[in-house]
């Protein structure tokens, strides 16, 4: 880099206007940083150090992250990663997240990549900056670079003595250097910040009602809006009776073709008007209905097959085997079921648009808004604010488009708040998954062959985004297609089997609009694979854990299995299922190349009622480098309990016209009385790359539970959710 270029530039000044200059006195704005707008015009190039960070005269550093904190602790972890490389404390780091005008586009915050890709990029920018700082310090101090280090924000001799604060050295100027992918990283043995269970900066405000969620964000002159969705998916609007809300003062109707909303300055009046408004819609009834989904998956229409895995000759080995086993597993459509219905605020005026959103992809949303509003992308700014946890793409993007369309129509700032029924009814759903498995044992009672067949909705290649509801109803052209996430991974066992075949039959459509939901596909695939492995072990008369270990060579996998069994107290002696209580085990190597997770569950089954009670869960987790062990534990706990809820309770119900599971009574989730004890053993491998903790521990949950139910009762559950009726049915057919 050129230090003269650096000294000439004084583009980045601190101070200046607030991003939001009103209404938030004394409130926490973890993601909306006072003074951040002063940096408008800075580069957002992910190839530039200045894209990711700025060093200020007072010694503080602003980090610009395109990945956002969806409630995961990313906000503290990314600070820790940057602080470690820069040689400063985390308290000196200010963070701007998910602002399309200020942060590089690091892709959506999805796929458990917040740290493994997003944080790693920020870390590399910080390491590049550190190199530049040392070089500048050497020049200023008349020393060689080797003699210098940065401690607590001061560049000085490794041997000690006075030095120069980095703020003095850089003082708000830009670096103007490329991010160096080879800039050396701090050695793990020297970590002082990374690996520490530091507390999250947003938590105190979240616990005292002062944290600003997107739901709490207000603009002067802002109107409240409720979007009126039809009673049938795909309906067209035939008539609106404006007189029906004439008596509710201060409310009006906004209509763009079949897109209908009610707006008003007062939120409660707007809600009342939305309820009172009389409309007539067409009544399409072309949906499948819940009970027809599996038939439809078997019969298509299909748009092709893919061989996902092919090793050896599974067909021949299965055909020639003496002992064969087969089973079919099903995972239903599920909702993200966020605690807060989606919400967004948009201000579209004078040919520009600003959208405040809780979307997991603010940069992606910027391009969507650009398209639907007919504005150049550089006229659109999208700013992330926290929402209720989304675990994939819930309704946040839809609500953002709703708000943008209404605001553009009215030329005023608009807040769209979905209802509970909107969120349960209209959030894009996790797609259904059907899997048929076959396996064969050889004469040594080892697995000789394995075949997995999957039936899945096919994701559309190069789809820019899930088509959104508002633009669709408004007749705005969108690229049509399906988005599901990477749903075929972990469909084959992670253990050595000579002949393996995984094929997928791609369905042309999906029963309801799909999107990615936490650990897309891998939860159901792992449920099928790890349950079936258990079935084969039972058939072979082997201990389920021992049979897994005999097929495993990866030492990291072996380690989490051993730690899990130690944590739960696994008894490898032969056991007879049916005592009413038993322990189930499962294991995943997430995506076959990321995090390793072992899981065991101590389960009780009441044969009379079919009720399942989970007493204890044990989990060993190896995600490589751990930035913050406490936030990783939080993610592991969350993955486990959320997926326990999905496995025990959740299925979206719908008829031929609409979703019918529209609230927490018809779509229940896990509640406190049913929360088991959870013990986690975190394997920390600080000398290895970080692999992600946002999803992996979700994958083995359902199989550990199903295997536990089998150990307790002899009932083999292959269809989610594990309702008491299904337990009794499985007991009736004798597994």
């Amino acid at each position: 880099m050129s230090s003269t270029a650096l000294s000439r530039r004084r583009l980045l000044k601190s101070g200046g206007a607030l991003v939001i200059g009103f209404g938030f006195a004394g409130r926490s704005l973890a993601q909306v940083l006072p003074g951040a707008d002063a940096a408008l015009g800075k580069t957002v190039d992910a190839g530039e150090v200045d894209g990711f960070l700025a060093i200020h005269t007072d010694g503080t550093v602003t980090v610009y992250s395109g990945k956002v904190d969806l409630g995961t602790g990313h906000r503290i972890a990314v600070r820790q990663m940057a602080a470690e490389e820069l040689g400063i404390g985390v308290e000196r780091i200010k963070l701007v997240e998910g602002d399309s005008a200020l942060t590089p586009d690091q892709g959506t915050t999805a796929g458990s990549t917040g740290i493994s890709r997003g944080g790693v990029q920020v870390r590399q920018a910080a390491a590049t900056a550190r190199l530049a700082l040392i070089r500048m310090g050497a020049e200023r101090l008349g020393r060689t670079e080797d003699e210098l280090t940065i401690i607590d924000g001061v560049i000085g001799l490794k041997a000690g003595g006075p030095g120069i604060p980095i703020g003095t050295l850089v003082g708000d100027r830009r670096f103007q250097i490329k991010l160096d992918p080879k800039a050396p990283l701090k050695a793990p043995k020297d970590y002082v910040v990374v690996g520490k269970p530091m507390k999250r900066p947003d938590v105190p405000a979240k616990l005292s009602g002062t944290h600003v969620f997107v739901h709490d964000f207000k603009l002067p002159g802002m109107l409240h809006a409720r979007v009126i969705r039809p009673a049938s998916v795909g309906a067209t609007l035939e008539e609106v009776d404006a007189a029906s809300i004439a008596g509710i003062a201060g409310t009006e109707i906004v209509r763009i073709k079949d897109f209908l909303a009610v707006v008003g300055a007062d939120e409660w009046s707007t809600i009342k008007a939305a309820r009172a408004l009389k409309t007539r819609w067409s009544q399409p009834d072309a949906l499948l209905g819940t009970d027809q989904v599996v038939n439809w998956m078997r019969n298509g229409p299909f748009i092709g097959d893919d061989a996902v895995v092919k090793k050896g000759d599974a067909s021949a080995a299965l055909a020639g085997a003496r002992e064969r086993l087969s089973a079919t597993y099903y995972w239903p459509m599920q909702s993200h079921a966020s605690m807060g219905p989606s919400c967004a605020v948009a201000d579209v005026k004078d040919g520009t648009a600003t959208v405040w959103t809780a979307s997991q992809g603010p940069h992606r949303l910027r391009h969507i808004c650009s398209r639907i509003l007919g504005l150049a992308a550089d006229k659109v700014r999208v700013i992330y604010l926290d929402g209720a946890g989304c675990y994939g793409m819930n309704g946040h993007d839809d609500a953002s488009a709703d708000a943008a369309l209404i605001s553009q129509k009215l030329g005023r700032p608009v807040r769209v708040q979905w209802t509970r029924e909107d969120e349960h009814g209209w959030d894009p759903k996790g797609p259904p998954q059907l899997l048929s498995l076959e396996g064969a044992l050889d004469s040594d009672r080892r697995i000789a062959a394995w075949r997995t067949e999957m039936w899945l909705p096919k994701a559309t290649a190069n789809l820019p985004n899930v088509p959104l509801l508002g633009p669709e109803a408004a007749g705005i052209a969108q690229t049509q297609g399906l988005s599901t996430g990477q749903v075929t991974q972990n469909g084959d066992p992670p253990y050595a089997v000579a002949n393996v075949e995984v094929t997928v039959h791609w369905l042309k459509d999906a029963p309801l609009r799909p999107s990615n939901i936490r650990a897309p596909g891998k939860i159901a695939n792992s449920f099928a694979v790890e349950s079936f492995y258990d079935e084969l072990a039972t058939h072979a008369g082997k201990d389920a854990v021992a049979m897994r270990l005999e097929g495993l060579t990866d030492p990291r996998g072996i380690e989490v299995i051993k730690r899990t069994t130690a944590l739960i107290g696994w008894d490898s002696r032969p056991k007879q299922p049916g005592s009413g209580r038993g322990i189930g085990f499962s294991y995943v190597h997430y995506k076959h190349n990321e995090t390793y997770v072992g899981m065991a569950m101590d389960v009780e089954v009441d044969a009379k009622t079919g009720a399942i009670r989970v007493h204890r869960i044990a989990c060993a987790h190896d995600c490589g480098l751990v930035i913050n062990p406490d936030t990783v534990r939080q993610q592991v706990e969350g993955n486990i309990l959320q997926t326990l809820s999905r496995a025990l309770l959740e299925e979206v119900a719908f008829d031929k016209a609409r979703v019918t599971s529209l609230n927490w009574a018809s779509y229940p989730i896990l509640a406190f009385p049913d929360v088991p004890d959870v013990k986690i053993d975190l394997v920390m491998r600080q000398d290895l790359p970080p692999l992600g903790a946002g999803e992996a521990a979700a994958a083995p949950v359902a199989a550990a539970l199903a295997n536990g139910v089998f150990a307790a009762s002899g009932a083999r559950l292959r269809t989610v959710p594990f309702t008491p009726e299904r337990v009794k049915e499985a007991l009736g057919r004798g597994a």
Binding site: L207, D266, E267, A337, M339, D386, Q642, A671, P673
Partner: protein, 156 residues
């Protein structure tokens, strides 16, 4: 437009509402700019909107402004501030008992009301008290630990 008088976080407030049936939740969030209580369902099913009214954890989405008139309402903002946390909030922070934090208002307020009545609840009593408060992130364990901690015990 009628005026309703109530006490909120120890202060006498009067609020205007054209509709006596307007839920207290919207009066707090919009009229008084107290956005701690959250809209979760509007059906009394999730607990995100919980406030304390004269000692009772109450769903503010299910109580009308007319019914709240003349009563004393505590919101999470009245419990403590980030700089001066109430004991229950401090225990939640200590346990880092929030992920997305959208349900946190209800968890804190329901727990505060419980501890006011039952200073040393059993684990099962805590689970029972929180049975109507939903959390989607799976933070249940930390919440249980936080309530135990606030009452001077530690969960293993």
């Amino acid at each position: 437009m009628a005026t309703y008088s109530l006490t909120v976080n120890g202060r006498a407030r009067s609020v205007e509402s054209a509709d006596p049936d307007q839920p207290l939740l919207y009066v707090l969030r919009n009229g008084l700019d107290l956005t701690g209580p959250k809209f979760g369902c509007g059906l009394g099913q999730c607990g995100a909107c919980t406030v304390i009214i004269e000692g009772e954890a109450t769903r503010s989405c299910q109580m009308t402004v007319a019914a709240a008139a003349g009563r004393s309402v505590t919101t999470i903002e009245g419990l403590g501030t980030p700089d001066k946390l109430h004991a229950i909030q401090a225990a939640f922070v200590e346990e880092q008992a929030a992920q997305c934090g959208y349900c946190a208002n209800g968890m804190v307020m329901t727990s505060a009301a419980l501890l006011e009545k039952t200073p040393q609840p059993s684990l099962d009593e805590i689970k029972e008290a929180l049975a109507g408060n939903l959390c989607r992130c799976g933070t249940h364990h930390r919440i249980l630990r936080a309530v135990m901690r606030a009452s001077g015990r530690v969960l293993p």
